[in-house]
Amino acid sequence: MKTKTFPHGIHPPELKNLTEEISLQPMPAPEKVMIPLLQHFGAPAKPLVQKGDEVSLGQKIGEGQGLFSASVHSSVSGKVLSVDSFHHPGGTPVPAVTIANDGQDKADTDKKEIKNPFSLSPEDIRDKIKEAGVVGLGGAAFPTAVKLSPPKDSPIDTIIINGCECEPLLTSDYRLMLEFPDEILKGAELARIATGADRIIVGIEDNKKKAFELFQEKIQDYEGEAVLLKTKYPEGAEKNLIYAILRREVPRGGLPFNVGIVVQNVGTAKAIWDAVSTGKPLFERAITVSGQSITEPKNLLVRIGTPFQAVIDFCGGLKEDGNILVMGGPMMGLTQWTPEVPVVKGTSGILAWNAPAPGTEYSCINCGRCIEHCPMALVPTQLAKYVQFDKLPEAESWGILDCVECGSCQYICPSKILLVHWMRLGKNKVMSSKQKKSA
């Protein structure tokens, strides 16, 4: 069957066979959870509880503040031990609520199931999603309610459900697609109603044929189709996915709604359905625990706030040779320095492997491979040089802000230049100098 794709990109070893066939399994809640109040793109949530308070499962413990923010909910029932700064997978400590689990999972009783969620108005759907603290579960953790309220002057025609999972090793989205296809499609339907779009398109890479066939059959009850995409990295990057499926190009500095599209991850679609139909807040998510150094790789449903150490222990512990711990996929994931960090809404996986010592970095030989593989059609080597020598206006005009930090350039670079590091640094510097200018 013919597959769709975008130009450039890379194809790293998939290594999905470690966990592909293992069904999602709920992990018992740990004795103690540390729930950061900043788990999303935007401003941190304001704590609503104090030390010593009793909280129930799913109780709101942090109120989202401002436009780009999301509420945070308790993932266990029990007593608040502290509200203090704690390690965060992002590297910088952030305020977090530590809760001792009483093991009873007492939930709020006043939350009622809604009989026909599809009859709700777009505003009601968005309110419920906002109330449940749903954020994009693909990794960037962008507040979903914001994503589903596009400006009036850009009408949305298509909801794309992102089932690519193009990062190697990760399989949690694949398992979600196989085990919860109805919930995902119902969530997509709600997103369609909320944005007023006409159709749903589910994009799935061709290394997940089973999921594709399942969705092709299930989607016949809805307005839309399932699309088979070529297995390539970063197929799941929003802008590349849109181009691959609909051949529409998101303008520079723009967002998908500029071309009439909203993209949601499969996990997010399921969370939307849970939030709207039963009022269940986002307090657990599917993650893949994998890598050569994990004794028993698994796909798990984990409570937000569970320490990485507890998750690893549940998977039989770390083999002795493991020397690198990563949150997320191997391409874009964040290396962790301590296994004490908690699982957050943006955690798509916990990986551990024995990384070889980094090779020597050589000078650029101008081979142009990074240019050949950049999915955003940038010139990484030139941009890196601009950043290195602090030529920020040049870097900006060469489009550094379009970089999605996918890591393809660095993966392919024969000189082992840490290109993404320079890109990230440059993006940050350009953004802050812009902010200074506008201030």
């Binding site: 992002g90 590297g91 910088t92 400590p93 964040l334 980094p358 590091h421 990230r424 640094l425 940050n428």
Partner: protein
């Protein structure tokens, strides 16, 4: 022969014509410029460092001549340049407080614990973006972004991993203040002896765990000199250094973590301390 003659005459005629043009342009199109600008500009150090906030020495000179900038606006030139500019403008020279850049961190390789091996480009800013390489999220990252931006060669990485300010060369231009992603540099008057060498806002136990030289907010210094030092957000803050009397310095220097004190202790005192350490050892 005639060819040579013709060409000589032509060239002379052309030369004369152009010189007339030039003289005309000089007389008629002359731009009157304040002679003070030139004089002030000559008095300036010509480092074009931008510390005054203008695009370069010339721009600063223009601003001073127009009266838009302060006479003592060039920190690099210091007292000499200020009095010279004041002379040119015919006004009284204002007082110049000589300042130096001071690093507010004592998290050396030994004192501040690493998070783990750092694999990445060696710039402080990049390390800061991922939360830093040290367990302390406020302290020095040891990669020397400040050293690279110093236009006066006044900063060098010391053996202990921290940048060292060369006080003879430092002009307080403030480039390092802007370059440090953790805002560890600040300009202080030379006469300010007591400095807080820490920026950690973590609570005592947490900051102690991360770094041996962190301020643990015990308050000894604030009790010793309440009129000039207060505790704010888990850190000692000097509100007015002029109020610190010299007799209180030994009390302040009782700091258990060395997070506040003088940058340069007297040499004989240092020797004494070393002796003390040896005795204890």
């Amino acid at each position: 022969m005639t060819e040579i003659l013709i060409s000589i005459i032509t060239m002379t005629a052309l030369g004369f014509l152009f010189s007339v043009g030039l003289v005309f342009a000089y007389k008629k199109l002359k731009v009157e410029e304040d002679p003070k600008i030139e004089q002030v500009s000559e008095a300036l150090p010509q480092a074009n460092c931008g510390a005054c906030g203008y695009a370069g020495c010339r721009a600063f000179a223009e601003a001073v001549a127009k009266g838009e900038a302060e006479v003592n606006g060039c920190p690099v030139g210091g007292e000499d340049v200020t009095s010279e500019i004041a002379n040119i403008l015919g006004i009284e020279a204002p007082e110049v407080v000589k300042q130096l850049a001071r690093l507010h961190c004592r998290g050396t390789h030994e004192a501040a614990k690493d998070k783990g091996p750092y694999i990445g480009i060696s710039t402080c800013h990049a390390a800061h973006l991922i939360g830093g390489t040290k367990q302390c999220s406020f302290g020095c990252l040891h990669s020397g972004d400040c050293v690279r931006v110093c236009p006066f060669d006044a900063l060098h990485m010391g053996e202990e991993g921290l940048p060292v300010v060369d006080e003879d060369k430092c002009t307080a231009c403030g480039k390092c203040v802007d370059a440090c992603p953790r805002n560890l540099f600040e300009l202080h008057p030379v006469s300010q002896e007591i400095i807080v060498f820490c920026r950690s806002l973590d609570r005592g136990a947490a900051s102690r765990k991360a770094c041996k030289n962190a301020c643990i907010a015990c308050g000894i210094c604030a009790r010793a000199c309440p009129e000039a030092i207060v505790m704010e957000n888990n850190i000692a803050v000097i509100t007015d250094y002029k109020k610190i009397s010299p007799d209180k310095i030994p009390e302040i220097e009782k700091c258990p973590t060395d997070a506040i004190g003088r940058l340069h202790k007297d040499t004989n005192e240092e020797e004494k301390e070393e002796e003390k350490k040896e005795d204890e050892g």
